[in-house]
């Protein structure tokens, strides 16, 4: 089944934080847009980047590779990268690939903001 396009948007949050809301299908094809939005969030001074996956419908392995690349960019800028809104299925993929060791997982944005 061909993937549907993902849509992404930066949502400013309280403090030095920004969320990137992701809906649709996450594949390597999204990489350019995700990196552009990350630059936008960085320019706004965000030190905490929240990837909000509540609207994600599908992800392939290219999506995981893209997240690894984003994680490296965040680390280079001393930003913390966290994820919210993952279903149990996607949580297990994060755990299997051990991405959860570098990207902490939270149920929702409020929980992510409240985390130490």
């Amino acid at each position: 089944m061909p993937p549907h396009e993902a849509t992404m948007a930066v949502v400013p949050l309280a403090g030095a934080a920004a969320a990137i809301a992701i809906t649709g299908d996450v594949t390597a094809a999204c990489e350019h847009e995700l990196m552009t939005l990350h630059e936008q969030a960085t320019d706004s001074g965000a030190k905490l980047i929240v990837l909000d996956f509540a609207g994600m419908e599908y992800m392939n392995s290219g999506g995981i590779g893209m997240l690894v690349t984003l994680l490296v960019r965040c680390q280079r800028r001393q930003q913390k990268l966290v994820a919210t809104g993952l279903t149990e299925h996607y949580r297990q993929i994060f755990e299997l690939t051990r991405l959860d060791e570098a990207i902490s997982l939270h149920d929702d944005i409020d929980q992510a903001l409240a985390a130490p």
Binding site: M59, I93, T97
Partner: protein, 241 residues
């Protein structure tokens, strides 16, 4: 709800992903050769040590077969397309999510786990001790000219300081290896003069010193130790029988 439930109400990609495991286990028939990966954890690019590289190899293999057909063939005969400098010991299945396969290069046996597989791509992830900590994706897509383009794309770091020190040599070997793999795949589909394009990019110049102790799983060291202790194992087996 279990996303892999047969009711089919899980995510569209549920059947493409390997089920979560904490440790890699090899099947009984491959256990004698799987000593470097049995019981190891998965180690993706963030769990390695050296600089992170993204390498992409592409080859246009013409219009003889669709991307789906090439990938089905690639999955079914994966080991046949490996160059002679390495060996791939697959299981009975054709690269299914969760499969663990043994592979060796330069006499060092190690392996991979199939992380993801769909109609047009499949991805391997490496266990601890492998030369590289990597995600390696094999895929095909239709080009603008209507041909099928095969691609191997990897995101990788060397696993530990020893392999990182050897990287100038190992990296060159990998480069030759994957080019030949695409050459063999193309030849199997009737294309004998394929041009393999390669692109390498350093994604992260840092070395992850927090992971230096990965060296305790180094497959090269374990292989030497395994060879040296071979006579002891043989004697123990004889005593047991």
């Amino acid at each position: 709800m279990d996303p892999r439930s047969p009711e089919g109400h899980g995510p569209r990609d549920a059947e493409y992903w390997a089920a979560k495991v904490d440790r890699v286990h090899v099947s009984d028939d491959l256990r004698a050769y799987g000593y470097n990966i049995e019981g190891r954890r998965i180690a993706g690019p963030m769990n390695g040590f050296g600089r992170m590289w993204q390498r992409t190899y592409t080859a246009d293999i013409g219009t003889a077969a669709t991307p789906e057909r090439v990938v089905a063939d690639w999955r079914a005969h994966f080991g046949d397309y490996w160059p002679t400098m390495g060996h791939f010991h697959g299981t009975v299945s054709a690269i299914k999510p969760g499969d663990v396969a043994l592979a060796s290069a330069g006499g060092v046996p190690t392996g991979i786990m199939v992380l993801y597989a769909d109609d047009t791509s499949f991805t391997f992830i490496t266990p601890e001790g492998h030369v590289v900590a990597a995600l390696i994706t094999f895929s095909c897509e239709t080009s603008e000219s209507g041909g099928t383009v095969a691609q191997i794309r990897m995101l990788l770091r060397s696993s530990d300081p020893i392999f990182e020190a050897m990287w100038p040599l190992l990296g060159r070997g990998e480069d030759i290896f994957w080019r030949r793999t695409l050459n063999n795949l193309a030849a199997a589909h009737g294309v004998y003069d394929v041009t393999v394009r390669a692109h390498t990019e350093c994604v992260d110049r840092r070395r992850l010193w927090k992971n230096w102790f990965n060296v305790r799983y180094n497959a090269g060291i374990h292989t030497i130790a395994h060879a040296l202790t071979g006579p002891l194992r043989l004697r123990r087996r004889k005593t047991e029988t």
